[in-house]
Structures are given as C-alpha cells and as structure tokens.
C-alpha cells in the first residue's frame, strides 16, 4: 500500500525528521487560507500516487495566497496518469541549496533492508541506479541489529556531505529507519532531502510503501489507503479474496494459482491471442467466489471469450463448475467459454458442465488454442 506524500511526511515528522510546514487542502479556498497562514511563498502539490507530478503540472510554486488559490484550482482539476487529483498539499517553500536522496528498502537478494543515499536527489532514483549506479551509496542493515550510527556516517561521507550536516543527517537516517521498521514498510524514501540556504536539512518530499501483509499490525495506517489507485473492480475482487488485474486483451481468464494464471496468459499470447486479465481465484475457492470472479471478468466489455483453467488440488473442480453455472444463470451472456478442469473431482465437474454448451479441453495448450479461436469468432 502506497502512502501519499503528505501522510509519509507526517509519519517521518513523528520520528523527528524535519519537514516543511504545510497542510492538506481539498478546495482552492482552503489552499488560500493555508498559504496565508504560512505567510510567504508556498508550493502547491497534487497528492496522487504516481511519479512525474511535476511534469504533469501537478506541482506549482505560489508567491501569494491568491496565486495559491489559482494553482490549487488548476491542479485540483487535473487527472494525472488516470488518477484524479482530489487534494493538494500546501507547503512552505524551502530555500533549496542542495538536494540529496535518502531511502530504505528491502534488498531481496541480501534478505536485509538496505539504506541508500545519493548526492543527486530530486530526480528519479531508479534512473540514477540504472545510468550511474556508482552515485548511489548503499549499506545493508542487519534486521536483527537495526541501523548503526557508523552506517549513517558512512553514507554521509560517501555522498560527500559537508561535515556540518553529519549529525543532522544521522538523526534523519535513524528517524527514517524507525519509520520504516515500525510501519512494516517496503520503502521509505526522502527525495529530495534538501540542504537549505540556512544550512538545515529538510525532507521536502516523502514516499512510503507499506507491506499489505503486515497491515494487521497497523490499523491506524490502513485508513490512509487511497482507493483511487485500484480500479473499482480490482477493489471488488480483493474484497472477495480474488486477485484480479485488468489487461488490454479480449480473452478473459479464470485460474487457480498465481503462477498458473500468468502461464495461462502467456500461453494465450503464444497461440496468437491476447489475455484480458490476470485472475487468481486462490486455493479452495467456493462456488460463490467463482461466480463473483466470472461477473468481474464479464464486466469488461472487451472480453470475447473466457478460458477457465482449474488444476484441482485443494480447489475442487466440481465446486468450480457449480460456481460457473450459478454465475451463468444470473449473468446471461453469449461470450463463448472454454473449460479445462484437471485433478480433484475433475470428472464430476465436467459432468456438471456438459449441458451448459461449453467447450472442454484436456490439455492447457488445447484449451488456449480453443479460446483464441473462439475470441476470433
């Protein structure tokens, strides 16, 4: 789960990281009021969970409260990369001398958190990582030990930070580590961490991504979820324990298991078709779940054929068949369907479906070919 800049920075601030003064506004009037209170130049920043806000016109400096009102008006009308801007952050503008990058994430291959810093902040860190990886100083953190003081110093020295700032930088690194570890984050990032003209360090932009699996430990943070990020059907799917991602093709797929679901997509493509979605119904799916899944697939108007690929293990093929039949009673569709049932109770499942005018297949390749043909009509 991604946190908005505003919530990320507020969290950082709880861990002693200095952030600019600022408040969230949902209307231009509010933005004006905040700018007035801040008394000086402000930055009006769209709060949407995508990168490239600046380029899209979603971040603007205002020198007067009136300007802030106008900028907020413009920005609140924007839709950036399909996401509507529903609020803006009005922050005191910082006197920026230097921009640093500081972030902590999970290093998958080291199986440890890694803290990273770069003297080149304010730009896309993945781009730096790609083009000039030597400009990023990395340090693995033992998860049982936590960040050590010397590691923060090594980072500061590594990015040639002036020694006057080492102490402040160390405190910020420790604060970020605490925010990361206490929130079960998979990413906690300050970009840029600014050195101001007055010689202060300030977290001007912030980003946090939390581990969905650990949200049970953070009921307070769950409230910060931005529902815009996922399409409506994706939310609906999650609520039913389904994993659904919409794609651009025309062959809907319903599969049990993530790996097999991806494989089904791949094989459709291999035989000349285009998958309309990824959909994993999970293990031991009930008839009701299957029925909801089919409704979701068919809610996509592009879908010209549906391929069911169920490998019965925990999931019983007869239960899946029942779910399909239940859904068909309600949905009433002409979309052709290809069913492949293998494993636990496959025979019973096939028997249930034999009156339902569905094509059945034995192998995955065969099923894919049939679905591709059906979609072509």
């Amino acid at each position: 789960m991604k946190l908005h800049e505003y919530y990320s920075k507020r969290l950082f601030s709880e861990y002693g990281i200095p952030i600019p003064k600022g408040e969230i506004a949902k209307t231009p009037k509010e933005a004006q009021r905040i700018a007035k209170e801040l008394d000086g130049p402000v930055v009006v920043k769209s709060q949407v969970l995508v990168g490239g806000r600046g380029k899209a016109g979603g971040i603007k400096v205002a020198n007067t409260p009136k300007e802030a009102l106008q900028h907020a008006e413009d920005i609140l009308k924007l839709t950036i990369k399909d996401l509507p801007v529903r609020m803006v952050l009005v922050d005191q503008a910082a006197d920026i001398k230097d921009e640093i990058y500081l972030g902590i994430t999970n290093d998958r291959s080291a199986r440890k958190p890694v803290i990273m810093a770069s003297a080149e902040g304010g730009v896309d860190i993945e781009e730096i990582a790609h083009k000039t990886p030597e400009k990023i100083i990395k340090c693995q953190i033992d998860p049982l030990m936590g960040l050590q003081d010397y590691q923060a110093r090594d980072l500061a020295a590594g990015i040639d930070l002036s020694r006057d700032h080492w102490r402040a930088f160390g405190k910020i690194a420790h604060g970020l580590w605490q925010a990361y570890i206490n929130s079960d984050a998979t990413l906690a990032e300050i970009n840029p961490l600014v050195v101001t003209g007055e010689g202060q360090l300030l977290a001007v932009d912030g980003k946090m991504v939390l581990d969905d699996n650990a949200l049970f430990r953070h009921p307070d943070l769950e409230g910060y979820r931005d529902l815009d990020v996922d399409a409506g059907v994706e939310i609906q799917a999650r609520e039913h324990g389904l994993s659904y991602i919409k794609l651009d093709g025309n062959i809907g797929c319903m599969v049990n298991g993530a790996g097999l679901a991806m494989t089904t997509m791949d094989i459709i493509k291999l035989f000349g078709g285009e998958p309309a979605n990824f959909l994993d119904i999970g293990g031991g799916a009930s008839a009701e779940k299957v029925s909801t899944a089919l409704e979701i697939i068919l809610s996509d108007a592009n879908v010209k054929a549906v391929l069911f690929n169920i490998f019965g293990g925990i999931t019983r093929c007869d239960v899946v068949a029942k779910g399909i039949l239940e859904a068909l009673e309600e949905v009433n569709t002409n979309v052709p369907m290809v069913v492949r049932l293998v494993g636990t109770n496959a025979a019973e499942g096939r028997k249930l479906l034999q009156d339902a005018a569905m094509e059945t297949a034995d192998t995955l390749a065969e099923a894919a070919k049939m679905a591709v043909a059906a979609a072509k009509g």
Partner: protein, 286 residues
C-alpha cells in the same frame, strides 16, 4: 532416491488443529507420511485423527516425546514467524512453512536468525515437498506424481502441479518435488535446491519452474553453468505480465527493469538450460 523428505521423515504439524492443518494432515497421513505429532498451544494432551496423532503444547515437548525431525507449519500468517522461531530453537532440522501472507519484515528477521542455526527452512507461501511414494509434506496433491529420477523445483503452486501432471501422463517419475514458494524472502532458493539435486545420486534430470520478479532465476542460471552437470529444463511464467503490477503474490512483480521473464529465459539459455514455451512442453525437453 530423494532429497529433504523420505519415508524416514518424522513429521510434526504446527497448527494441526486448525482447519487447514487438520485437512492436510489427513491427506499426508493417507499418503503414507509418518506424521508423529501435532502442536497447538493450549491443546496439548488432545489427539487428532481418531486418536492416531497426539497434540502437544510446544514443539520442544512434541519433539522430545516423538523424535520429530521435520515440521510443517499451517498457522496463520501473523503467528508464523513465532512458529518458525519455535521450531528452529527446538532443534527441528527441516521446517516447511506453507502459510501465505507472512509479513516481509518478519521474514527478514526469521531468515537472518536461521542463517546462524543448523536448520533448513522451505517457504513460506509454498506448497511444500513431495517425494513420490515416500512422503508428502505440505499440500501438493499426492496422486499427480510417480516415483522416478526427475527433481522438480518451483516458485509456484498449481503451475508445479501442472508440470508434475504432464510428467506423470508420460509415466515420467519424480525423485522429489520442492516448492520453494513465491515470496520475495524465503528460506530455500533455487541454488540451495539445485545443489541438493546435483548431489542426490537418484536424481538424474532437473526441472526448474520460475516466474517474474527478483533475480533468483538469473542466479540459478549462473550456478547451473558452473556447478550442475545434470540436464536441466525450465519454464518461466509471466512473459505477458505488465511491469509494476503484482501478479498474485508479493514475489511476482517486475520492477525497475529487473525481474523480466525475458532476462531470466536468456540467462537460463546461456547456461544451456532448455526452456519450455509452455508447461506441457517440459517432458519433451528432458
């Protein structure tokens, strides 16, 4: 004849009285696995499966009473880290965690702790282990594989079953099938398993089933080119998966130019691994 589990495995089930735990215990016992004990804190003294398997309050007590050497974990995600620590501290040699959804910070702690212990962890979020004809530890359906000389290692669940099934249909047998799980941080990876298959005299060929996300397949390819002399066939799922979208579980995601199926396939081919275009092609490549 196998790696990790066999007919001598003395299995303990953590979370044996839960719905999942009990269901799969029945299946494992029916398959012939020696399930010697269960653990559910607070239910020590009870019995399951009509008095066949005793339940204990702790792994330590269960191990002392029954000589269990392997544990399979079915407890809910939020209690899984504790269950793994408990098993490791009790001296269990092999831990298989089936549970899905274990927080990644928990896994970083578990993994770094276990690295200093004489214990192997498989999983979490994995289907477990199957040595056909000898032992089934986890949730892999027992009837989709027959004994043989092919070692199978996989990050996936049902996709693995698909391949086991394809092999069985051609009466090709399996030494051991190892589901290492789909989470980004887990106990046993491809390389660990390849090493064991390479050393196992009864394993003659190896099937590797990977998917998008991370660089484990690339690392495995590098290892194969240097250390594995047995023929390896592979399949990588997710060639059509869009970047930035998580495909079902936390591990399967293409991020920042890494984790792409193409890169994995290229690396494997470079290591002279035959890569299938779809799972049913696997048998013909062996």
């Amino acid at each position: 004849m196998s790696i990790l589990v066999d007919k001598n495995t003395r299995l303990l089930v953590q979370g044996i009285t839960g719905q999942e735990g009990l269901f799969h215990t029945k299946k494992m016992v029916a398959y012939g696995t020696q399930v010697v004990a269960g653990v559910t804190p607070g239910k020590g003294g009870e019995w399951v499966l009509s008095g066949k398997i005793p339940v204990f309050d702790s792994v330590k007590i269960a191990k002392d009473a029954t000589g269990a050497n392997t544990s399979v974990i079915f407890v809910p995600a939020r209690f899984s880290a504790d269950a793994m620590f408990e098993a490791a501290d009790a001296g269990i040699e092999l831990i298989i965690c089936i549970t899905e959804g274990v927080p990644v910070h928990d896994m970083m702690r578990v993994r770094n702790y276990l690295d200093h212990k004489e214990v192997r962890l498989v999983g979490p979020n994995c289907p477990g282990l199957l040595t056909p004809g000898e032992a089934k530890v986890g949730i892999i359906p027992g009837n989709i594989a027959i004994p043989g000389n092919i070692g199978v290692v996989s990050r996936s669940g049902t996709l693995t079953y698909e391949i086991l099934y394809a092999l069985k249909n051609l009466t090709m047998g399996v030494s051991t099938c190892v589901g290492i799980g789909g989470d980004p941080i887990n106990g046993t990876n491809f390389i660990d398993t390849l090493m064991m298959f390479q050393e196992d005299p009864e394993t003659e060929k190896i099937v590797l089933i990977g998917e998008i996300g991370g660089t484990d397949e690339e690392n495995a390819a590098e290892y194969i080119s240097q250390h594995v002399t047995k023929p390896v066939a592979a399949f990588i799922a997710g060639r059509t998966a869009p970047p930035g979208k998580r495909m079902g579980h936390a591990g399967a995601i293409v991020q920042g130019g890494t984790g792409l199926a193409e890169d994995k396939i290229k690396a494997l081919k470079k290591a002279r691994v035959k890569v299938a275009q779809h799972p049913e092609e696997i048998p013909s490549l062996l």
